[in-house]
């Protein structure tokens, strides 16, 4: 890493000497390169660009990952970036303000000048494509700081190298980068001053611009436990040091992903709080050590999926600035579809738009007059991933509408379809009649082919069971049917063991056939809407709550240790006892304003308000069935968490000041 560092600083030197006033290196490099591209070649282009940059070790501004294209795309259209970008940045103003305030406090120290010490690490979370990185970059331009970014890609070349003695592990490289980037910033201005071209003015500009932040997005392999431990140690070490002058805040960007409802998800919850490495998921809890996450040095700001209105505005601005001729532009409907299908993911939206645009312009020549550049819907569907989500829709519909032979046809079926249905029904055999003691189980022949469903299913049985569980109550008429379905769910769930090879291999079949058997036939149509399982949301809450249970338990043991001369027997609280029995005392402690207060987070498990029913479940719409995407509630929760942290840090700050004065 060392040679690389010097190399890159040389690079900077050269940059400074030739153009003392433009310090933003790298940006022109990208923006000149990307004039126009289509998605296919763009990717290969980006990779070569990425390598080029990666060899510089420390990268400046846009790194060459495919995703950064949006930034490129945006900035292509507007060379004088600042104002435009603000107009185009599709993030809620308040969210940006939050981030901006944080940076301000990190550099200036807030109103009292004290906050600098606590604004060390900023964690931006949110699902993919919510402009987390872009916000930081744009703020970087606005507030005039440079972004030092870590990229892992450089190490790949060394893997097959036989020279082991000179081999540096990827993490060592990261560590070196991190320490130098956060520590040794003072050197660069010095180098600059010794330069021949430095005048008073440029030096001033330089000073203003000697502000840097470190951006970590391409994290080291956190899932590997020892790497994770070292990463945590690095972060802790950073926090323990007093901030360097000028301060170098660290920004970590984490894209959320969501658990998939498999069997082990729930198991993970209980052991999670104690074992930091929980499941194979990168989220804020695995990246940031637990003690830091609750502490004052880490601020978490959650980004919500981009609102459709903002997204549409951003796309329109993009279109109007990008192309001057109106003819080739995608029509309004296309824009609608793109916005709708993007699901709050602006990267996705721009990609789709780009794709639509290229086709639109090509078609536009041949049938400009006829259709006005419209794209056939089939093409649109392939752009917008609709097809994949439809499969899940069909699957649920097939299972839950429970069509059987002889069902009355719905009024909307065309005559042709009705004919075909009839033919099919003729081919179907009736099941043999059951003896009278089994009469209650007699059903007409089902039109649902479970094997076919299994073959086409995009989800596994466990997720299917969650969807069925969430939705079945709308399709039943009475409690008896409820009973049969939920009994089937319960049986399937408890058959088989804890590990995959003990699991019952017929779960999918049992589940769908059991549901079909239990549902009334025909199912009454009452405008049923499919709803996403609430399971994940609550699972997430439960994880949080367990975390706070452990915090509280630690607090118990800790405060007891302080007051008593030994820790005899105080560690014997189990998590369950804390959750079940400590509520009253915690409440009382909170009220009486004693000297030692329990961690504020305890309310996550000790406070429960009984509210009469409000169904806030999210409806499953055709275009947001994407399984792995985090729900917006999760993000809300994260931002709530961040707010909590801020409060806490505020409190600690006060006590800190008392000490100092």
């Amino acid at each position: 890493m060392a040679p690389r560092l010097s190399q890159s600083s040389q690079k900077q030197d050269r940059g400074y000497k030739s153009k003392p006033k433009t310090v933003k290196l790298g940006t022109p490099l990208i923006s000149t390169q990307v004039q126009k591209y289509d998605p296919l070649t763009a990717f290969s282009l980006s990779q070569s660009g990425g390598d080029e940059l990666a060899h510089g070790g420390m990268q400046k501004s846009p790194k060459g990952k495919g995703k950064e294209r949006d930034v490129g795309y945006l900035s292509v259209s507007s060379p004088d970036t600042d104002d435009r970008l603000w107009a185009e940045l599709p993030v809620h103003v308040r969210k940006v303000e939050d981030v901006r305030r944080w940076f301000h406090e990190a550099f200036e120290g807030g109103p009292l000048g004290k906050l600098r010490r606590y604004r060390r690490i900023l964690v931006l979370t949110g699902q993919a494509g919510t402009a987390k990185t872009t916000t930081v970059r744009v703020l970087g331009r606005e507030m005039n700081f440079n972004i030092l970014e870590w990229g892992n890609s450089g190490s790949d070349d060394n893997v097959n190298d036989t020279s082991y003695d000179s081999y540096e592990s990827a993490f060592t490289k990261f560590e070196t980068f991190f320490n130098r980037a956060t520590n040794c910033r003072n050197l660069l201005p010095l180098v600059e001053m010794s330069g021949a071209t430095s005048s008073q003015q440029s030096q001033k500009a330089q000073n203003a611009n000697s502000r840097h932040i470190v951006l970590l997005e391409d994290l080291p392999n956190i899932l590997h436990s020892s790497t994770q431990a070292r990463f945590h140690a690095t972060l802790r070490c950073l926090v323990d040091r007093p901030p360097s002058d000028p301060p170098v805040p660290v920004v970590i960007i984490i894209s959320d992903s969501r658990p998939r409802g498999e069997a082990y998800d729930e198991h993970g919850v209980y052991s999670r709080g104690r074992n930091g490495d929980g499941e194979g998921v990168i989220d804020i809890r695995t990246v940031i050590p637990r003690d830091l996450l609750g502490g004052p040095y880490v601020t978490n700001i959650g980004f919500n999926p981009i609102a459709p209105t903002l997204l549409r505005r951003a796309l329109q601005t993009l279109l109007s600035t990008h192309s001057s001729n109106k003819d080739g532009q995608p029509s309004k409907e296309v824009l609608d579809v793109v916005v709708e299908s993007a699901n709050g993911d602006i990267r996705n939206a721009i990609m789709a738009l780009q794709f639509a645009y290229t086709i639109g312009s090509r078609d536009g020549k041949s049938r400009k007059r006829k259709k006005g550049g419209n794209i056939p819907t089939s093409m649109l569907e392939s752009i917008t991933r609709r097809e994949q989500s439809l499969v899940l829709f069909h699957l649920l519909g097939k299972v839950l509408y429970n069509k059987r032979k002889g069902d009355p046809l719905s009024s909307s079926t065309s005559a042709k379809d009705a004919q075909r249905e009839k033919m099919q029904e003729l081919l179907m055999e009736d099941p043999p009649s059951l003896p009278f003691w089994l009469k209650e189980h007699e059903r007409r022949a089902s039109k649902v082919d479970v094997d076919m469903l299994y073959g086409n299913s995009p989800i596994d049985s466990s997720l299917l069971s969650l969807y069925i569980h969430q939705n079945y109550t709308q399709f039943v008429d009475g409690l008896d049917e409820c009973d049969r379905i939920v009994e089937c769910l319960s049986w399937v769930d408890s058959s088989g063991g804890e590990v995959w090879y003990q699991a019952n291999p017929y779960r999918f079949h049992i589940l769908s056939m059991g549901t079909l058997h239990a549902l009334p036939s025909p199912v009454t149509r009452r405008n049923q809407k499919f709803i996403k399982p609430q399971f994940f949301e609550y699972l997430e809450n439960e994880k949080e709550a367990w975390d706070s249970v452990h915090d509280t338990r630690n607090w118990l043991a800790h405060s007891a240790n302080k007051s008593l001369d030994n820790s005899w027997r105080t560690c014997s609280w189990s998590g369950m006892e804390v959750a079940l029995e400590l509520g009253g005392v915690l409440k009382a402690l909170e009220r009486c304003h004693g000297t030692s207060r329990p961690p504020r987070t305890h309310q996550r498990f000790s406070r429960m308000e009984f509210q009469s029913e409000q169904l806030t479940s999210q409806q499953l719409t055709e275009d947001d069935v994407d399984i792995e995407e985090a729900s917006s509630q999760m993000n809300d929760m994260y931002s709530g968490h961040a707010r909590g942290n801020e409060e806490i840090s505020g409190q600690w700050l006060e006590s800190d000041e008392i000490e100092e004065f």
Partner: protein
């Protein structure tokens, strides 16, 4: 600050307030030189852990109170790192294997092997063996219990195991037969009153007998709960005179309201509503078994005599399913639906007979 429960916990067998006979037995057992593996069981808050620690002190002397908390790392078969907190002294180790989740077998095996293979080096030690305390033994998986069974015999020479569990029903028979079973019953109301008065005296305030009775009545034989309630009460109204209102924990009230929901209406939409509440309870770390138990008890209180047995039967049935399965909510809901349909059918039946 420290909670009263922790601060005024008895240290020696002589200090214990109730179950005197048990204390004398433990005492003679500890001095007999032939100490068996033991299994303490009884309802929570009865004083199992306190008795275990007192026994240890009797065995090893005050040195056993010098505790340190270690964090040990175990590797699961899939090379996942498990961090387990161990509380240990020179003479004993205490673990809560349920912290390891599914991998409790690994932890148990590794730890026991390690301890069993090291002899006691301290020449002044009163006993030649070390003691391993396993908390929440009833949450051990079957694998882990099977692993334990072999080790218990093999390393008898320099290790003893003390298990602590709420009930023996979840332990496999071989383990039960290798241990000396010691039941720690819940204290009687008088015992609890005595303890409360003792604590009040130590803290330095007068506890009116009425208040003590009220606390005892509310804590249903759970000593820890009683002391926690007392402390919370004291914090809220320092003089403890006049009418006291002891607030139940939020989750309990919540459970009761869920039970009322179940009884007041039986329909698919009500099932959905109850499900939301169940989710809410689960996400507040209330163990599903406790939820099921609390709600079932409340429901049973309110329904006709002839339904009670059935409701409890199904509660037991789905509790077992819950232990075997993964997604607790299915089983909770299955029970709810079962109760609803039982209840509905019951009324339906009455209506019909009236009609005839």
């Amino acid at each position: 600050m420290s909670l009263w429960v922790d601060q005024y916990r008895p240290r020696t067998l002589d200090d214990l307030h109730y179950h005197k006979e048990l204390s004398t037995r433990l005492k003679s057992l500890a001095s007999s030189g032939d100490f068996p593996h033991m299994l303490f069981y009884g309802p929570s808050g009865a004083g199992k852990k306190t008795r275990i620690s007192c026994t240890l002190r009797q065995l090893f002397g005050p040195g056993v109170e010098k505790l340190k908390i270690d964090q040990r790392v175990f590797l699961s078969p899939s090379k996942r790192k498990l961090e387990i907190n161990l509380v240990q002294s020179n003479y004993h180790v205490e673990i809560t294997p349920s912290e390891a989740g599914n991998f409790d077998r690994v932890v148990i095996q590794e730890l026991l092997k390690e301890i069993a293979q090291t002899q006691q080096v301290d020449l002044n030690a009163k006993q030649r063996f070390k003691v391993v305390i396993i908390n929440e033994a009833d949450s051990l998986s079957r694998d882990a219990q099977a692993a334990l069974r072999r080790t218990m015999e093999k390393y008898m020479s320099n290790m003893r195991i003390i298990l602590c569990a709420n009930s023996t029903s979840r332990l496999i028979a071989p383990i039960k037969s290798r241990c000396l079973l010691i039941r720690v019953a819940a204290p009687s109301d008088d015992d609890m009153c005595d303890v409360l008065q003792y604590v009040a005296k130590r803290v330095g305030f007068d506890l009116p007998p009425d208040a003590a009775d009220k606390v005892v009545e509310d804590s249903s034989g759970n000593m820890r709960k009683a002391l926690l309630i007392l402390e919370a009460l004291k914090m809220q109204s320092p003089n403890l005179n006049g009418p006291l209102s002891i607030a139940k924990p939020d989750w309990e009230i919540y459970c009761h309201k869920v039970a009322d929901l179940i009884i007041s209406e039986q329909s698919p939409s009500r099932v959905m509503e109850v499900r939301g509440k169940m989710y809410e309870l689960l996400s507040h770390c209330i163990p599903p078994t406790v939820i099921l138990k609390t709600v079932a008890e409340r429901v049973v209180d309110k329904v006709d005599e002839s339904l009670k047995a059935d409701i409890m039967h199904w509660a037991a049935f789905y509790e077992l399913r819950m232990r075997n399965g993964n997604k607790k909510i299915y089983h909770l809901e299955a029970w709810v639906v079962k109760v609803m349909s039982l209840y509905k059918h019951f009324f339906y039946g009455i209506d019909m007979s009236d009609f005839d």
